[in-house]
């Protein structure tokens, strides 16, 4: 199973925690909202991605398992 990042755009409030914790995959636009460079999470970033998901104050970030 591959892990993919998913953002609930309605929930997302632009707090920016995800970009702090996972800069390899997430940056912020000019208004502070996340831009996902690649939604597929490589294995070596898996723990970091899970931490980012847990840290989102509005629970807008999720990891989804996708069949390869």
């Amino acid at each position: 199973m591959r892990k993919h990042l998913a953002i609930d755009r309605i929930r997302c409030d632009g707090r920016g925690m995800c970009a702090e914790l996972l800069p390899e995959l997430i940056s912020l636009d000019d208004w502070g909202y996340p831009i996902i460079a690649s939604d597929r999470v490589p294995d070596h970033l898996s723990a970091q991605a899970e931490k980012a998901v847990r840290s989102c104050p509005v629970l807008a970030l999720a990891l989804r398992s996708v069949r390869p």
Partner: protein, 401 residues
């Protein structure tokens, strides 16, 4: 006026077709069986609200999820330049109701909701009167719900949210309305033209439906022709006909043309020189990176200004954001403001670069496709009017496309 199937018969401008005339012309409505799904599938019919989603696939998904939710007959028609849905509702209400009845029975909908734009008064009156003429149980209990006059109100998840929570704002997908999710019933949201096409397919079959259409496209489509043409308005044309043919059907151009806006405000500007042979068909246009949208074809004359037109449309689309998703709310506002500066001739070169970067960044970052539609339009303008964007004098407020 070109009127082939949906608009054949009495002049649509003469008003609503009464039930007895409708039945006389089309005969009784056939019973719904499993064959209806197959016929719709073989016809290749796709949704006519703008997204061109395959109709049989959506109906099957609703059925597979157990059915039992509402059927929303979508006549919101929030696209400012589109008139085809209200024209159809005002002139052929019983074709729409036939399609609604077939859909409601096919997916076992618990109720039928007529969802009509609050500003489309004639369509509301006509549809309400037509419902009163019908004796079928499903239609006798149909409700009329007014869609707020907002661009996003016709988006299917927004329609469902209005029914459930009183506010017409899109919701996060998945699940789409046609997918059941946990305790929630699947809702079929289908555009009025699509339903009217189903009413004909159920009677005459898929082969008949496919007997119209050019270059491999199937059926007929309703289009709204706007801008610098002799006879702007709604036409029914064979799917796959070219932009040039549509222009001829609308009586030709009143001036030399600069560009064509294909697909409405979520569509694309195409330079006039490369527009003429484009086919009016959802899948053929998609292959070319374009969209049929809800069928608006706008003709911009050389005396108009694509930069100013685009600034005006971006301003509108920014103000029509449902303000739920940051990239859409802030991004479209910034794009509209900067587009306006360029139109007013008060921008500096970095503004154009920013416009290009923001257009790329905003795409795909909303719960619905509102931001995607808006930046798609802007990006097409940056290509079609590249010269004008580089050196635009101040003349904001030029006229229409």
């Amino acid at each position: 006026m070109s009127r082939l199937r949906l608009l054949s018969g009495p002049d649509p401008a003469a008003g609503s077709e009464a039930l007895n005339v409708h039945v006389q012309r089309f005969g009784p409505l056939p019973a719904v069986g499993p064959g209806l799904f197959d016929a719709i599938e073989r016809s290749g019919l796709t949704g006519r609200g703008g997204a061109a989603f395959p109709v049989a696939k959506k109906w099957r998904a609703v059925s597979a999820a157990g059915g039992g939710g509402a059927l929303i007959v979508n006549g919101a028609e929030g696209e400012p330049q589109s008139f085809k849905d209200r024209t159809l509702m005002s002139s052929r209400p019983h074709l729409v109701l036939d399609g609604a009845l077939l859909a409601a029975r096919a997916v076992r909908a618990s109720s039928v909701v007529m969802y009509i734009g609050e500003e489309h008064r004639a369509a509301q009156v006509t549809m309400a009167r037509a419902v009163a003429e019908r004796t079928e149980h499903e239609l006798r209990h149909a409700r009329l719900v007014l869609a707020p006059a907002r661009y996003v109100a016709g988006e299917s998840s927004a329609a469902v949210k209005l029914l459930n929570a009183g506010i017409a704002s899109p919701t996060t997908r998945p699940p789409s309305p046609h997918e059941g999710d946990g305790g929630r019933l699947p809702t079929l949201v289908q555009n009025v033209e699509t339903l009217a096409q189903v009413a004909l397919i159920a009677r005459y079959g898929a082969d008949w439906f496919r007997s119209a259409g050019r270059r491999g496209a199937a059926g007929t489509i309703l289009v709204t022709v706007a801008g610098a043409v002799t006879s702007p308005g709604v036409l029914e044309v064979e799917a796959g006909i070219s932009v040039r043919e549509v222009l001829e059907l609308a009586g030709g151009a009143t001036q030399q043309l600069r560009a064509v806006l294909l697909g409405g405000y979520f569509g694309s500007w195409v330079d006039a020189s490369s527009a003429w042979d484009l086919p009016l068909d959802a899948s053929m246009l998609r292959e070319r990176g374009l969209t049929l949208g809800c069928g608006v074809v706008g003709f911009l004359p050389v005396t108009g200004c694509g930069v100013c037109e685009t600034a005006r449309i971006m301003e509108y689309l920014a103000s029509e954001s449902s303000a739920q998703c940051g990239p859409c709310f802030f991004g479209l506002r910034a794009l509209a403001t900067t587009s306006g500066w360029i139109a007013q001739g008060i921008a500096d070169p970095s503004d154009l670069a920013r416009l290009e970067r923001w257009s790329r960044e905003v795409r795909g970052r909303g719960a619905c496709h509102h931001p995607d539609g808006a930046v798609g339009l802007l990006q097409s303008a940056l290509t079609a009017f590249a010269t004008e964007y580089q050196s635009h004098p101040a003349h904001l407020g030029s006229q229409v496309a």
